[in-house]
């Protein structure tokens, strides 16, 4: 009996096993994403009811430009002159168009120079301008609230937007294209059907691309899209060639592909109803076109897009 018990104990001892050796399990850190990145499933509601048709790019004919410092009494420009500075809504994230020079901290670019020309026409001094950085989605609200006098920020003139704000004549003709990693195999907008595409929220590019891509991600700024592309969270970025050229200039591993598949006519945004300011800005743009300033600014910033084209032709509805 005792022998049997002993045998049982020995047998049990042989079978008993300790806990499995411990493992170090790495804590996975989810890849960070730009703040406020969200997936867009369908076109925004404005697309649901077709935009009102209109002759979007026809603006108001300018009169003779008043001399700097002598704005007509009671005009919007006189109010700006009295304040002592023009307040312009611009971008600080679009390389070449409107961006912060990280050496000087100043905001520079094609759009910024256009805004400076307007300030120069009012004050005779292109430095009398305060830049307020606005995101794409903030452009119309900022004009409506009067927080800015003008918006010069790669803003496409559309009939939809003309319901809420006024526009100058076209000062730049851009078109939407696609930015991808080099050797990605994507050759244009047609190749996006099974891809993830990044766009800035509140931009016309969003509406143009949302139905052509498998997934569309929206972020506040275009540079946030470049972050997502570099982090491998998106396959492509699609927007105006001006903005894409600026992004491509920041990353040699990317390239702009395909031809323009939209026409984006940039205008200076002005609060609704300020016709005198629209005519004044048109006068400034007219002068820039004829005296070579426009070409000078183009050559200063936009040569990555090719040699200077002829400036867009002004169209007026009087």
């Amino acid at each position: 009996m005792r022998r049997l018990a002993l045998a049982a104990v020995l047998l049990l001892g042989a079978c008993a096993s300790g806990p499995a050796p411990s493992e170090v399990v790495p804590r996975s850190a989810p890849a960070p994403q730009p703040a406020n990145a969200s997936t867009v499933s369908a076109a925004p509601s404005s697309q649901a009811n077709p935009p009102p048709s209109c002759d979007a790019t026809a603006s108001l004919r300018p009169g003779a430009l008043p001399q700097p410092g002598q704005m007509p009494d009671g005009s919007t420009m006189a109010r700006i002159a009295q304040r002592g500075r023009l307040i312009a809504g611009v971008d600080q994230n679009s390389y070449l168009m409107g961006f912060r020079n990280s050496f000087t901290g100043e905001i520079e670019g094609f759009d910024v120079d256009v805004a400076r020309q307007i300030a120069k026409a009012v004050f005779g001094d292109e430095k009398k301008v305060q830049f307020k950085v606005v995101t794409a989605a903030e452009r119309i609200p900022m004009l409506q609230s009067g927080a800015v006098d003008v918006v010069v920020r790669t803003m496409t003139i559309t009939c939809d937007r003309l319901e809420d704000v006024d526009f100058s004549q076209v000062y730049y003709q851009a078109g939407q294209r696609v930015l991808v990693r080099r050797n990605s195999g994507i050759t244009g907008v047609e190749g996006l059907a099974d891809k993830r595409v990044c766009v800035a929220s509140g931009s016309t590019s969003l509406n143009n691309v949302v139905n052509r891509a498998k997934t569309t991600v929206s972020v506040p700024n275009w540079t946030d899209c470049l972050v997502m592309l570099q982090q491998g969270q998106t396959d492509a970025i699609s927007t105006d060639d001006t903005i894409l050229a600026g992004l491509a200039a920041q990353d040699p591993y990317t390239e702009v592909v395909g031809s323009r598949f939209t026409d984006e006519s940039y205008g200076v945004g002005v609060p609704k109803g300020q016709e005198d300011l629209v005519r004044f800005v048109n006068g400034v743009l007219e002068r820039m076109r004829t005296d070579g300033t426009w070409r000078g600014i183009y050559l200063r910033w936009l040569t990555p897009l090719g040699p200077a084209p002829t400036p867009p032709v002004a169209r007026y509805r009087d």
Binding site: R27, A29, Q92, T104, G105, K132
Partner: protein
């Protein structure tokens, strides 16, 4: 069953029989008193030990860990605000800002490794995310060095990661550690149970003495007198020490509350600083940051008020003074920025008041922590020797009771 119950009945009969005769009763009382004395002594020693352990934990673990957790939060918050400031400065970042950022990251790492002991889950989250954060900051720097605006986008992403992942985890860690301090303070509270038992034992001894006097007509029994003295001394000792400890622990609670309020004030200061800087980085699109600044500033003012109500020290006064100056400068920054004088606004942000406020708070926190440490040390000193003393007195009490009653018992032989 019937067979089984017989011995038990026999035992009951024997005990009740014993209790009926005086010598029997005396024998029973001896046994009960000796057991009660030792049990009461053991209970007291146990509760004193518990208090000692709790105090030791406070001094050497909970409080240092709570401080480490607070340092994790502070260093992370400061790293983020400093990274934003460095970006704001334009051109190459000033070396002092870079050094401050690096010191913050190193401090956060060091504090994190201290805090790992008690909250492995939370610290694992922080340890996994911190390198991701610093990686993003370096990417932002590299791009910034080349003059690419995408650097600012990486900075925004890093800051978003800090605000949504790292800081909430650090906040939770701090809460967990301060709760641990509060629990340790609860453990060191007044030992009602042991005091009640010790008191009951003294009363039992006095009653025995009275019973003996009635039965034997002798006024005093030396053995019982010694036992009663020992028990009373033990009770007095423990009560006095417990009252002292309770007082010290209450003071240490006040000190840790002060530390908590000042630490929160410091975190609010750094948060407000971050918001102030980001308002300028955003350049006109910073309304949310300014709104946050106003909210955090109000909270900060409330915390400083609360701190001065708790203990109006020079450091707290100084902090309040610097806070008001800072708010005035902030007003001027906003006016300059809103009036389009951006460079002026950026130069104003370098005013010394924020740093002075932070230093005043550091001083205040240091003083309050010293108070805490002093209170706990005093409590530990008052407890020292109590456990052994009480045990010795219990043995003396048991021996006294046994000997005293033994003498009386002998007279019945």
């Amino acid at each position: 069953m019937v067979v089984d119950s017989q011995p038990r009945q026999a035992l009951v009969r024997r005990v009740t029989g014993l209790a009926r005769s005086t010598p029997g009763r005396l024998s029973l009382i001896v046994v009960v008193l000796v057991v009660a004395s030792l049990a009461s002594g053991w209970l007291t020693t146990w509760s004193v030990n518990r208090q000692e352990r709790a105090l030791e934990d406070l001094a050497t673990r909970s409080e240092p860990l709570a401080h480490a957790a607070q340092e994790v939060y502070r260093a992370l918050q400061d790293a983020d605000a400093t990274a934003a400031s460095a970006f704001l400065s334009g051109g190459l970042e000033p070396s002092e800002l870079r050094e401050r950022y690096e010191a913050d990251v190193a401090q956060a790492q060091a504090a994190l490794s201290v805090a790992t002991a008690t909250s492995p889950e939370l610290t694992a989250t922080l340890a996994a995310q911190l390198p991701v954060y610093t990686g993003l900051i370096e990417t932002a720097r590299t791009n910034n060095r080349q003059g690419f605006p995408v650097g600012a986008a990486y900075l925004r992403e890093a800051s978003g990661l800090m605000r949504t992942q790292l800081l909430p985890a650090a906040q939770e860690l701090y809460r967990a550690e301060t709760d641990r301090v509060a629990r340790a303070q609860d453990e060191a509270s007044f030992p009602w149970g042991s005091v009640a038992v010790a008191l009951a034992f003294v009363i039992a001894l006095v009653l025995t003495q009275r019973y003996l006097t009635r039965k034997t007509n002798r006024l005093l029994n030396v053995g019982l007198l010694v036992a009663t003295g020992a028990a009373a001394l033990s009770l007095l000792w423990m009560t006095t020490v417990s009252v002292l400890v309770m007082n010290d622990v209450a003071d240490s609670r006040a000190a840790s509350q002060k530390v908590d309020v000042l630490a929160q004030a410091r975190i609010a200061t750094l948060t407000a600083r971050g918001e102030e800087t980001l308002t300028l980085v955003a350049r006109g699109a910073g309304q949310t940051y300014e709104k946050n600044f106003v909210e955090v500033s109000e909270r900060l003012e409330g915390l400083l008020d609360q701190a001065s109500k708790l203990d109006d020290t020079a450091a707290v006064d100084e902090a309040m003074k610097q806070f008001r100056q800072w708010q005035q400068v902030h007003q001027r920054i906003r006016e300059a920025d809103d009036a389009g004088q951006y460079t002026e606004a950026v130069s104003l942000i370098g005013s010394p008041y924020f740093d002075s406020l932070d230093q005043a708070l550091v001083r205040g926190i240091g003083e309050a922590r010293q108070d805490f440490s002093d209170e706990v040390a005093v409590a530990r000193v008052s407890l020292s020797g109590t456990a052994v003393g009480v045990l010795v007195l219990a043995v003396v009490g048991a021996a006294g009771a046994a000997m005293g009653l033994w003498q009386r018992l002998k007279e019945y032989r």
